[in-house]
């Protein structure tokens, strides 16, 4: 009996996010090691057309549940559908992406099937064909190896932790008819930002964050730099508390935990609570006019300068190089 890996690929109004491709790529790698197959599961209204995109990342099969009733994400509804799929297909490993919706479905499914789940995983290894997850705890201070009990073993990945690997396959598409149930939750209103300009903070490859030094709500300098680098703008708690940035931009212990390739901290002192949210970034650049700022103790590159002079210079340099 081959070992089967299944991946729940979150689909939103903006299509598949980067973490869907990261999770697919990791699922493929595990399936190869196990001599097994990789099945992608896509649930949502109007997903059938896009689903084929997943064939590029190593899917052997794509199960699609496309129904107009699935237009709004509803953890209860989506989980019920996935429970049926899991019971029929008996995967050994079930992976999820990184968003809160991914986590909502993963944790609810684990509860319903009385299984374990590991969230925010940075790495997977196999021991006797069983998945072992690596994840951080205590605000990134410790690294834990976690055995996940039961079958399937359920885990969610952290964004930017796994490389995206193209592996085009001939895939089989299978449509799944959902057993719909009446939702306990009524959606009254939805306010979404325009789709073309959003890079979700937790999934962004580059984050340019501003702190107290910004002095006000004008973050246009940081936005310009983030745009040039294809990234998103984040903020320290002070910048959020001042009302300069929305809560959803806050990075840190009581904000988002991010792990981009590049984190540029602009006028942020580097408190422990901030570090707890960005300490696993691959490369940290700090711009601060105080050469004693704690952030320089852990930044890969430090620049002692005024943000309002340094950031324009970086923007100019990038533009000069044709960005």
């Amino acid at each position: 009996m081959p070992n089967n890996v299944m991946f729940f690929a979150e689909h939103t109004d903006a299509g598949f996010g980067k973490s869907a491709f990261e999770g697919m790529s990791e699922g493929r790698r595990l399936a190869n090691q196990l001599n097994g197959t990789l099945t992608a599961v896509v649930i949502g209204a109007g997903t059938q057309d896009n689903a084929q995109e997943l064939a590029q990342y190593g899917a052997d099969r794509i199960l699609i549940c496309d129904d107009p009733a699935l237009n709004d994400f509803d953890a209860d509804q989506f989980t019920s559908i996935l429970v049926d799929i899991v019971k029929q297909n008996t995967p050994d490993i079930l992976l999820f992406g990184t968003s809160l919706n991914d986590k909502a479905v993963a944790t609810l499914l684990a509860t319903r099937l009385d299984l374990g789940v590991a969230t925010e995983c940075l790495k997977f290894t196999l021991q006797e064909e069983r998945l072992v997850a690596t994840r951080t705890m205590y605000g990134g201070k410790l690294v834990a190896q976690v055995m996940i009990e039961g079958k399937p073993q359920i885990a969610c990945i952290r964004a930017n932790a796994f490389p995206i690997i193209q592996d085009l396959r001939i895939t089989e598409q299978i449509m799944v008819e959902p057993q719909l149930k009446v939702s306990k939750i009524r959606v009254i209103d939805k306010k979404l930002n325009s789709l073309d300009k959003v890079v979700e903070l937790t999934e962004a490859t580059v984050i340019v964050s501003g702190g107290r030094a910004m002095g006000g709500p004008d973050f246009s300098l940081l936005e310009e730099l983030a745009d040039l680098l294809g990234g998103a703008v984040g903020a320290s708690r002070v910048a959020v508390d001042q009302g300069w940035r929305p809560h959803s931009d806050q990075v840190g212990q009581t904000g988002k935990v991010v792990s981009p390739k590049l984190y540029v901290a602009c006028g942020i002192s580097g408190a422990m609570q901030h570090l707890a949210g960005m300490g696993t970034s691959e490369c940290i650049v700090a711009i601060n006019k105080d050469n004693q700022a704690p952030i320089f103790h852990y930044a890969d590159y430090g620049i002692v300068e005024d943000v309002f002079e340094m950031v324009p210079a970086i923007i100019e340099e990038l533009k000069r190089q044709g960005r």
């Binding site: 789940v117 009254i188 306010k191 590049l262 707890a276």
Partner: protein, 263 residues
């Protein structure tokens, strides 16, 4: 309205964390414990609802070690009416799955119209307990709540979602989980600290809440930590020098390209 808040005691972020002798848990000696910040917001929101309605009871429930009594005293000093700690030697080995089962069992004997939890605990970052508790109790769960309004047996909430926000509504009893932006928790006043000394903190064991010990212990774990190590410490890197900001920018971009951090 009777509200139950789920509160977890966590080590202070600015405190040093040391790995224990068993290599799979942390050393609890000298740890400075605090309320998980999201749960502090949950307490605050519960108090505001009670104050607004002019009646009701706020009970704070926690599963943990005896040290959690001190944290319960703090939330009583904020204004909560009662604290309950579920503590048992059988819970020495615990994971979010077991925590949720214990909480759900404890809630079978407590009247509530609303449960408020935090969106994640900053020690294990499991994002698990609220979902599971709501499921075990068969009540609706709304996460990432930044505003709530209770009317005629229903709760309407604004939740942050990827790329925006949503207004949703469900019937009570329900469980909601807090997100930054909901409120700023109050500090205990001197008067309330005094009053809190007279309030009750109940400590219960598993058998007190009707659970049999066989169901717990290391074999019941659904996620098992097999090793803990210190995360590689980030070190101070390179300071970028130069005569002008232009020179520094050129150097930085070169370095980032060389390391393929930007392409």
């Amino acid at each position: 309205m009777d509200i139950v808040v789920l509160m977890k005691q966590v080590p202070d972020t600015s405190a040093l964390i040391r790995i224990g002798e068993d290599k799979v848990s942390i050393s609890t000696e000298d740890v400075k414990w605090v309320i998980n910040h999201y749960d502090e917001m949950a307490v605050e929101e519960a108090l505001r609802i009670k104050e607004q309605q002019g009646k009701g009871k706020v009970t704070v429930l926690t599963v943990g070690k005896e040290t959690a009594v001190a944290t319960l005293r703090t939330v009583l000093a904020m204004g909560a009416d009662e604290g309950i700690l579920i503590s048992d030697p059988a819970l020495e080995a615990i994971d979010p799955q077991i925590t949720a089962k214990v909480i759900a069992a404890a809630l079978k004997n407590i009247h509530f119209d609303l449960i408020i939890a935090g969106h994640r605990a900053v020690d294990d970052d499991a994002y698990f307990v609220p979902t599971a508790v709501a499921e075990y109790l068969s009540i609706p769960f709304l996460s990432m709540v930044i505003r709530q309004e209770i009317k005629e047996g229903k709760i309407q909430c604004v939740q942050t979602v990827k790329n925006g926000s949503m207004v949703v509504e469900t019937e009570l009893p329900a469980l909601i989980a807090t997100q930054r932006g909901l409120n700023e928790p109050r500090y205990p006043t001197m008067l309330n600290i005094m009053k809190a000394k007279k309030k009750s903190v109940e400590i219960k064991t598993l058998s007190d809440i009707g659970l049999s010990l066989e169901e717990f212990g290391p074999n019941a774990l659904k996620t098992k930590i097999t090793s803990l190590t210190y995360a590689p410490k980030r070190k101070a890197g390179e300071m970028i020098d130069g005569e002008t900001v232009g020179e520094k920018a050129t150097q930085l971009v070169q370095l980032l390209r060389a390391k393929a951090v930007i392409l």
